[in-house]
Amino acid sequence: MLRAARQLMQRDLLLALRRRSDALMPLAFFLVTATLFPLAIGPDTRLLRSVAPGIVWVAALLSSLLGLQRLFADDHADGSLEQLLLSPQPLEVLVLAKVFAHWLTSGLPLLVLAPLVALQYGLEPEAMGVLWLGLLLGTPVLSLLGSIGAGLALGARGGSVLVALMLMPLYIPLLVLGSSAVVAASDGTGSAPHLMLLGALLAGSLAAAPWATAAALRIAHE
Amino acid sequence: MNWHSLQDFFAMGGYGTYVWGSFSVVFALMLLEVWLLGRREREAQAAVTVHDDEGAA
């Protein structure tokens, strides 16, 4: 079972490597979005520093939403997803493997880019650190919850917009916790509770999301 | 009775716009929902009868 999961993950990574632009575009979107806000709000450093956590998180969220199409759509189109459903391995494990591969190409690069954006906004090192930790815990949740949306939207007409509409309410706790962690770190009130709650969200999503996604995939193939 | 005149009732102690603005929208939309559903039901029933004519042997 683990071998199958690992092979699936390697396959997905190989495919992502061959179609680099698919994976790079959401990251470019992240950078562009994060750059738009200072242009819109003005270069006042104090203001930018205070809105930075929220903006980085929202940009990460939106770029993650854009990248979700890659997760199942191509496999669904050429029939390989159906083959996965027919395999003797538990679908939940296979889903987890795909989501992990997706995170490696969408969430992990964000962890590299986020400090750059934080510099743009003039965040202090301590706040930057908490932002990074929050993203480390939060981007997998984005991929996990996102996989539910991506699975449900298979065979539906709405596309990315539908996925975004479905997932936004579910992303809100993540957004609130992630950005308030940074605010708490800047205030000095301590971000430990926020980060621990983020960890709890991650644990919960790891346990529950593959199950919901697998249900969605089965329904899409009825 | 809490009110001494009809004008008092409509004025709602100065908050008339808010109170009646709320109530009117609530009941208007609920009535609209009922009416739209009625129309949907009539169309569905008509479709069933049409089916019937087509299948009649």
Partner: protein, 256 residues
Amino acid sequence: MNQPYYSTANGARRRLTVFTFASPRNFYHLAGRLIPWFAALGVLTGLAGLAIGMLVAPTDFQQGDAYRIIFVHVPAAWMSMLIYMAMAGWAGFGLAYRTGVSSIMASALAPTGALFTFLALWTGALWGKPTWGAWWVWDARLTSELILLFLYLGYMGLHASISDPRRADRAAAVLALVGAVNIPIIYFSVYWWNTLHQGPSVTLGKAPTMAPAMLAAMLLMVAAFWCYGIAIALRRARCIVLERHGSAAWLRRRMK
């Protein structure tokens, strides 16, 4: 065994089970008989509630007569949450037992739930302006209500985007359940967010200490909205059964 039985139209006897009304035909008949009762009850409790609330209940000391908005705001808000729970419940039942009528019931509840959510927000804004001076405050409850509206819209959007009605029902059912599980998490995080950024929470919509007439009127209005919700959902479910099973013999006979 002494099992309860019911008689069908042609005189056959069938056992009454949990799944009796999972048959579209039985559900259609049952719903048709229930709707008038709930509609009548809704109208009666609504008239009584409005009469007591608008005519008899005293003017509040702090909020003046603006508080009377709670007679529609609170029922709308409560119903919006209750209907989502009911929707998720029916969705879960439909997914677990593959009963189509359960999923139909879930999708019949959604538009009404969304309407109540919107009404809760609208009346909340109109209550907020005179009492707190702002049309919108990022109060935990109002914000959660707004997110609930998005949950409803997501459900309805997904359902509308899938062509096959049975698949649409099941996919939307998964989304409803995921949403239901997330609601406590969302509420908690919004509440936290609100207290973090605003200090002592400015809770919009603190209902005044209730005089008996106020409480009676509010409970009657809640009952009225509840009956309205049930009646409308049953009627919509009947419509959906009509639309989907339009060519069934039992329907064609009935329509004659």
